[in-house]
Symmetry: C2
Subunit: 345 residues, 2 copies
């Protein structure tokens, strides 16, 4: 597979290959970039030499000349509200996978946590990246403004919350639909009084998900009064909120804005000797590692991150080739992973 012929010494260049194949540099370049311009036998001869020498074009030289680095920047930072830490990691994995096919690479950078713009500018001015993937659009979008202003291509994972009519390309997962799925699932399992445990009102993602819960309840003709609670994303806060809701004994279902919150509910159930699934149904959000290992298994809404990554790269490709994407706003459907926290048997 990997042609590891040359084991040492300087790397071969276009000129090396050209000389060896008895053609000009440009012809070798064409063999790589515009093979259809060459006569069949010439092409074959050049390709043979390329293979023999294990030649790969120098990225720096190519980038310098074409002004395209084939690198995509992603600011990678510690935990964030909403888009939970682990989620981002899974997304990055998918992204790397998706870029592998296109010859692009992901380059990670970090920045001052207090300055959302930190880092972008430098990479751009150094022409180190061709484009960016932006992952946190819920906290306003100064990055988008910056990149728009300087004309740098980008795609976001996350819709333009502030300005739904914004024209930039984005991919997102329908969180409201996810919460709706969760709630419908609980209703189908026979629950009626289903609580929502979500984030503070300032969280756009949180309010969006919550709307899916109310929609499902409304559709089933269930009164939501007193059942929607807003807390911080924290096991203990969730545990205490759950205790309060469970007090009068009527609430038997919990749809949650995150797995962390759902796990907090499970803690409360354990402390009250209630059985998850049989007595009380609980659904989390994001299908995190925690959901997968927590006892007795947490039903959770899963975002199709692999597909998100593929769509992001597809959009990026279109944008980079200066075309206008047909559908620059792509909303994907989440799915429900059912585990024992909602099984009544």
């Amino acid at each position: 597979m990997s042609p590891s012929r040359r084991l040492t010494g300087p790397h071969p260049t276009l000129a090396t290959v050209a000389e060896r194949a008895g053609v000009s540099r440009q012809t070798v370049s064409n063999a790589l970039n515009n093979p259809e311009l060459l006569r069949e036998d010439t092409l074959a001869r050049v390709q043979a030499v390329i293979e023999e020498l294990g030649y790969t074009p120098n990225r720096a030289a190519r980038a310098l000349r074409t002004r395209a680095s084939h690198m995509i920047g992603l600011r990678f930072e510690p935990a964030q509200e909403g888009t939970s830490n682990a989620l981002i990691d899974r997304f990055v994995h998918s992204l790397v996978e998706a870029t592998a096919r296109t010859g692009h690479h992901i380059i990670l950078f970090s920045g001052d946590p207090d300055d959302l713009l930190d880092g972008y500018d430098e990479l751009l001015r150094a022409t180190a990246v061709d484009a960016f993937v932006i992952t946190d659009t819920y906290a306003g979008t100064p990055q988008v403004d910056l990149l728009d202003r300087v004309g740098a291509p980008f795609v976001t994972f996350g819709r333009p919350w502030d300005d739904p009519s914004a024209k930039y390309p984005w991919v997102d997962v329908d969180g409201a639909r996810g919460a709706e799925l969760a709630t419908e699932h609980l209703i189908a399992a026979g629950h009626q009084r289903i609580a929502w445990l979500g984030w503070e009102k300032t969280s756009r993602i949180g309010e969006d998900r919550r709307s899916g819960w109310s929609r499902a309840l409304a559709a089933a003709g269930i009164d939501a009064a007193g059942l929607g609670v807003r807390i911080t994303d924290n096991v203990d806060a969730a545990r205490m909120a759950a205790h309060e809701l469970l007090e009068d004994g009527t609430v038997t279902g919990f749809a949650c804005a995150s797995d962390t919150i759902a796990i907090g509910v499970l803690h409360a159930l354990a402390e009250r000797n209630l059985r998850p699934g049989a007595d009380v149904g609980v659904v989390g959000f994001d299908d995190s590692l925690g959901a997968q290992v927590t006892w007795p298994g947490l039903t959770s809404v899963r975002q199709p991150l692999e597909q998100v990554a593929i769509e992001v790269i597809d959009l990026l490709h279109t944008v980079l080739s200066l075309k206008t994407p047909e559908n620059p706003a792509r909303m994907l459907e989440p799915s429900l992973v059912v585990r024992r926290s909602t099984r009544r048997d």
Copy 2:
């Protein structure tokens, strides 16, 4: 902060800056790379223009001329034995953080899961990276052999298991010491019959950690016979193994090779109505997100990944400047994060 003066148009180059400052290109270059060569006032003038124009050297041009890309490659793949998925993610975060200070950047790539070498060669031949960080040395080290052969710099996170006398630079965390800490902690909490739930014998990391457990038991004069069990890294396998060990009622402590396994033990305790901490002590490994949210909180061995990343980058720096590192083999100490799964109150 971010000098976003120029909002559009072509990027300024060395020549632009030189002309504007009334000096030559080389002088501008020196202002950036060898400021001590310039007279004070010249330096100040040049720096002012650089600031004014928001100039940043073109990375491609610089890389082409100096043959140094200032990029570090990291093969980033889905879940792996031992070094659990989440662990790698945390490490990458720390690594990005650590590189930020040195002007280097992490570039991620993926490869054919069946070919550990896939991807390295191409990046090298394209001179896209200066060096690599390698994270999985437990499965033999074909990457190390390859990179050694072609003379490419690298540092590994993980010691050379196959050949302890290997000369390449590495950083690792003392897993045996971690398991020893865990076991000592359980002993201090009053437990005597402390079981080990670890991975199969083929896992070097697993056997290393296990040795820490036996060392601690031996030091306390406790007989380890029948207490060491090897299973796959899986909640359910751990749950069943725990049930078996708990059968005769004498085992009251569990030291585990991973949080996943420890969580399996917690499941078994729940099913037997045993209280984690009060009745049975459980310690996991890696301080994963799961350990932090699982009820009632899982005591776990934490690897100092932030420090690992710093040491890795430090070694890489030394190697890249063609120096021989003073201490190319760096073993770091893990610590214990105590939570309720080992509290008797």
